[in-house]
Symmetry: C2
Subunit: 229 residues, 2 copies
Amino acid sequence: MREKLRLGVLASGSGTDLQSIIDACAGGKINCIVACVISDRKNAHCLERARAHGIPAHFVDPKCGDGSRKQKDAHEKEIHELLGEHGVKLVVGAGYMRILSPRFVEAWNGSIINIHPSVLPAFGGADGQGDAIEYGVRIAGCTTHFMDESVDGGPVILQAAVKVKRGDDRASLAERILQVEHQILPRTIDLYEQGRLQIEGRKVQIAPKDDSWLSRYPVIEGVLYPEDY
Amino acid sequence: MREKLRLGVLASGSGTDLQSIIDACAGGKINCIVACVISDRKNAHCLERARAHGIPAHFVDPKCGDGSRKQKDAHEKEIHELLGEHGVKLVVGAGYMRILSPRFVEAWNGSIINIHPSVLPAFGGADGQGDAIEYGVRIAGCTTHFMDESVDGGPVILQAAVKVKRGDDRASLAERILQVEHQILPRTIDLYEQGRLQIEGRKVQIAPKDDSWLSRYPVIEGVLYPEDY
């Protein structure tokens, strides 16, 4: 058995994406361990979640002691050092609401992924679900991608699509998208851990392997799954 | 029975989308008649298709007799007059590769729709399928929308998503998207004919009715359908 891949998860919110990773690790679905969780919000529930599972959880304050805004470089340096101290090999953005600098992303080049709640390149930015509702699309979804210096523009790894239903608002759509986020995010980490992701230019090639990954997840009706991968 | 809705189809290519409309009319799936087909290309196969079904087919030359480029206004005036002569009530862009002027679109405001081979707002423009392949997305598809003065930016009516599979190129993806185009385009016309589409701002509300439209079309495996509509 390969050594478990050490993940560092960056999150700002309640941490349901984080939970899907923790569950996938605990259930043996992926050969990984969450080495640490880092948040830019002191009271973010993701930190509590991590601690409840015995995972080191760090709040890295984006502000200085006197309340002034910390230099982005200084803030990211703290994060970078923490990731190093925990022996992290793959950084996972899981609802981290702060844009990472090109310098930080470059330092983790090819070893930093993100999940975004839209079928990119549509609706990048801070509110993929709300923007989809505003636009009036009938198909929404989520995307995992390698992070690069662009915002939400890095090479796509997996995507899944869900229907926007009559009467949906941002909350009901976001909830439906979250359900598939919790599937494609661990699956993406799985593919990475297996060494099956190859970045070629701005595209990701996924090496084939017949392992019917979906058998390990509950099937949600009415979802378009990337089962080929 | 309501009088059949008279459709004017604009097309530039082989006319497979047109064929899906003709078939839906002939099969009684939609209460419509294709009153005329207009193309900007003299030898476009869509014109032959129309004639083979006894549908008036018009080539409207975008160039003058001397080979110089005709004024856009003059070209569109000819099209507009032909549509009027044929008593057209709904104009359908079905692979028409010329951008219509705001003046033309305004004249048909709310009575002109288009089909585009991407899940808009991603990959608007002339090559939705090729751009999707280039970007490296895992989910592609098609969109029907009301046309407005923007290019591919009008209110969305229906969308369907298909998977991009390992090894897909532009041709294989375009073929897979076409299959669903041939379902959502007639269905969109159907909804229009039933008076169930309501434009509200930049969104389209679709009035509910339980008529299981998909029972009238072959089900294609692995497609995310807008069956709610």
